[in-house]
């Protein structure tokens, strides 16, 4: 079995969100970069578990990004996986990125393609679905449980107010979220081993971009909290009812 896990570089979850160049670019000064948590904790770790259960599994990682993505790719390889492919391109349009991943995925004829449910920077939630459509494969999004059974995938995914169990024959594309696996920390053996794992660099294929990011802005600052005395919590209810008209 061959698995491809898509990983993306994102700012750390505690990074200060600020913008530069007239609010057209994310201000990267002092920002720590991490593997997008959904890609790492859920997609990658679940794929590693599948490889542990069946050591004949081949596990590849793919990233679309510039050379500054290599530290997070090495970190991913330290967690597990046999080799990584970096498609040497910077772009923020999801159709363009999905086109690059689909080209690599087609070439590698994978049985299973995992993505995170979204990146924590652009929150597009779109790469998995786009890759699936480009490859004419079924797609299950927002999965939090994944098992294999006689060539079929049994996947539990989140729906509004509950969950749904899906059965589908491989190959399939799955986007992963919390619940799929437990977060792991790379150990020394993994970190040393990652250095000698292949990290292949390929150039992007020609593909269109359908969107461009114009500018960013931050939510307006709050006016400040109105504190109510703990001796008189009834006053809070009155304020919410009469002033904020919240109920």
């Amino acid at each position: 079995m061959k698995i491809l896990v898509c990983i993306s570089k994102t700012p750390d979850t505690t990074a200060k969100i600020a913008f530069a160049d007239n609010n057209t670019k994310f201000a990267t000064d002092g920002v720590q970069w991490i593997i997008n948590p959904y890609d790492e904790w859920y997609a990658l770790v679940r794929a590693i578990e599948l490889k542990e259960a069946d050591p004949s599994t081949i596990l590849h990682l793919v990233n679309v990004g510039a050379v500054d993505c290599e530290p997070i790719i090495r970190k991913a390889l330290a967690l597990g996986g046999d080799e990584a492919i970096r498609i040497n391109s910077e772009n923020t349009d999801s159709f363009y990125i999905a086109s690059q991943i689909a080209a690599v995925a087609k070439e590698g004829a994978y049985d299973l393609i995992f993505t995170g449910k979204e990146t924590i920077d652009y929150n597009g939630s779109s790469i998995g679905g786009m890759v699936a459509e480009l490859l004419d494969l079924p797609y299950i999004s927002h999965a939090f449980k994944f098992d294999l059974e006689a060539g079929n995938a049994l996947v539990v995914r989140e729906i509004e107010g509950g969950e749904e169990t899906n059965k589908v024959a491989l190959p399939v594309v799955v986007s992963c979220q919390k619940g799929m696996a437990e977060q792991r920390i790379p150990n020394m053996k993994g970190i040393m081993g990652a250095r000698s794992k292949p990290l292949k660099i390929t150039e992007p294929i020609a593909a269109d971009s359908l969107t461009t990011v114009g500018s960013f802005d931050l939510p307006p600052a709050k006016a400040g909290v109105k504190l109510v005395s703990p001796e008189n919590p009834e006053e809070l209810v009155r304020l919410l009812h009469e002033e904020a008209k919240a109920f």
Binding site: S94, A98, P138, S141, E160, E163, T165, L210, T211, V228
Partner: protein
């Protein structure tokens, strides 16, 4: 030319956020001098002509029960046929589980630029620019869609409905339906609860509540206010509450009218998921809790003393 909105349904009923998406679609249609049409898949119990009140002129229905089995690929192909038949060049979804699975596929199929998680109407003054949340709710981006066809998924509770009056024409749509590759083998839904992403009021609890046995303070208030319940990440991680209640950066991002947080300190990752709420109330005994900086109202006090009094006061108010 038209604007086509996909109406999501849950158990035969059109969802609240789909009505928002329908009204949003009709406003786009108005601004571009065209009309809004809708499409509904599967068996629906509701009277769809009321969509007219939301500005939708026609509702296309594909009532084949096989569509109740959700396979994103099958749904995408039906929607692509509807887009071709209506000549739609803007397609709108509410940003639901279905949209997250279908909209990206449709984007590829139609070569239509996709903006997911929109929070405002497109700005036509310089092309077609849509405001969306980025950085998990900590900021907004203005995305220009440069393709001829465009797809928008609208975040729930982000757009205020303006009701009009009208009767939508119901039109059965004859679509070719593919054989599904994905089979739904089980559905486990909590019925009777208010949907967290669509709720007007959300009551949420954190570790400050000390244990799942104390959750009555959250659920009693929620029941009185018809609110949904939520929790912070540590609470879901230690299984005090189910995972689907976790709001925050790695959980659900919500934007209710009122977010009422009890015993939650307000870590930056939690704030990311709730800071689009219109009114935020924080009850915490630690005056240094970062959540107070993001709150509109607050009480620095012990939730176990304060909350029973608040619940009593709300009870009185509701009886009045």
């Amino acid at each position: 030319m038209s604007v086509l909105v996909f109406l999501d349904q849950a158990d035969g009923h059109i969802t609240k956020s789909s009505f928002e998406a329908a009204n949003y679609a009709s406003k786009i249609a108005e601004q571009s001098g065209t009309t809004a049409e809708a499409i509904v898949l599967g068996t629906v119990a509701d009277d769809l002509s009321v969509l007219g009140n939301y500005g939708v002129k026609k509702v296309h229905t594909v009532s084949d029960p096989s569509l109740n089995n959700f396979d994103a690929q099958v749904i995408t192909n039906v929607l692509a046929q509807a887009v071709a038949a209506t000549g739609a060049d803007v397609i709108v979804f509410s940003n639901s589980a279905a949209a997250k699975a279908v909209a990206p596929r449709l984007s590829v199929k139609l070569k239509a630029g996709l903006v997911s998680g929109a929070v405002a109407l497109p700005d036509f003054s310089n092309g077609f620019v849509v405001k969306k949340t980025v950085f998990s709710g900590k900021a907004f981006a203005h995305i220009a869609v440069t393709s001829a066809k465009k797809i928008i998924t609208l975040n729930p509770n982000s757009f205020t409905i303006e009701m009009g009056s009208g009767i939508a024409e119901i039109m059965p749509f004859a679509a070719t339906i593919d054989t599904a590759k994905v089979t739904v083998t089980a559905v486990n839904k909590i019925t009777g609860e208010v949907s967290l992403s669509e709720a007007d009021i959300v009551i949420s609890g954190g570790r400050g509540l000390k244990g799942p046995e104390n959750w009555g303070l959250v659920t009693d208030l929620a029941k009185l206010l018809g609110a949904a319940t939520a929790c912070s990440r540590p609470v879901a991680d230690i299984d005090w509450r189910p995972h689907h209640e976790h709001v925050g950066q790695t959980g659900l991002a919500i934007a209710p009218n009122l977010y009422f947080a009890i015993g939650i300190s307000g870590a930056i990752q939690h704030l990311a998921g709730v800071n689009r709420s219109k009114v935020i109330v924080v009850i915490n005994k630690d005056p240094e809790a970062p959540f107070f900086k993001a709150a509109d109202y607050g009480i620095v006090g012990d939730a176990f003393e304060v909350m029973p009094k608040i619940i009593e006061a709300v009870k009185k108010l509701k009886q009045a």
